[in-house]
Amino acid sequence: MQIVISEERIDPWQTLSQYPAPAGYGATAIFIGTMRDFNQGDDVTAMFLEHYPGMTEKQLLNIVTAASQQWTFEDCLLIHRVGEVKPQDTLVIVAVWSKHRGDAFDASRFIMETLKHQAPFWKRETLVSGEIRWVERNSNGYSQ
């Protein structure tokens, strides 16, 4: 299991190709969150991802541990970007390797949803107008 807070740009495919897959898996479920250049009706040119060093790592570990108590999986990789990001940059990767597909699907989604509501990250957007604003709240990804 690996949990990474990255200040550098993330190439998701290179990262995944270099990650040592565990033995005995048959299913891999991956979620990748990518910065869009549009939010709440406005063009966004850049974003800053603030976080709470120390608490972030602890909460991400809590989340993956909770998932591992609910589902059976062989391995999990969780990477989250922080700092200055640009549209098209990868913000988050969750990858879960399991024997059975139901576990990989359920665990990856649980990790992503719980991260969205518990991990101490905050997005500050720079709009094309020059305005800078904090994103106020994450939506619920189950009910969309």
Partner: protein, 77 residues
């Protein structure tokens, strides 16, 4: 003996600083600590709090030596 207090994101911008120290004689709730440090700013609705890097309630007691944080709803991912 003191409590270290940290503010994040819009809360930090609103208060104009990221950290504060509060000297204490005994435990205080997170809410009381906010009120002592920011007497003119009411606690924003929906604010979250953490003690020693774990989520806590506003009524949870904080002890000298603890790190207390206040922050708005999280928006990562």
């Amino acid at each position: 003996m003191s409590i270290k207090v940290r503010y994040f994101a819009s809360l930090k911008d609103q208060l104009g600083h990221a950290e504060a120290e509060l000297a204490v004689n005994g435990p205080l709730s997170a809410r009381e600590i906010w009120q002592q440090l920011n007497p003119s700013v009411s606690l924003p609705e929906g604010v979250l709090t953490a003690i020693n890097l774990e989520y806590a309630q506003l009524d949870t007691l904080v002890n000298a030596g603890d790190e207390l944080a206040f922050f708005p709803p999280v928006t990562g991912g």
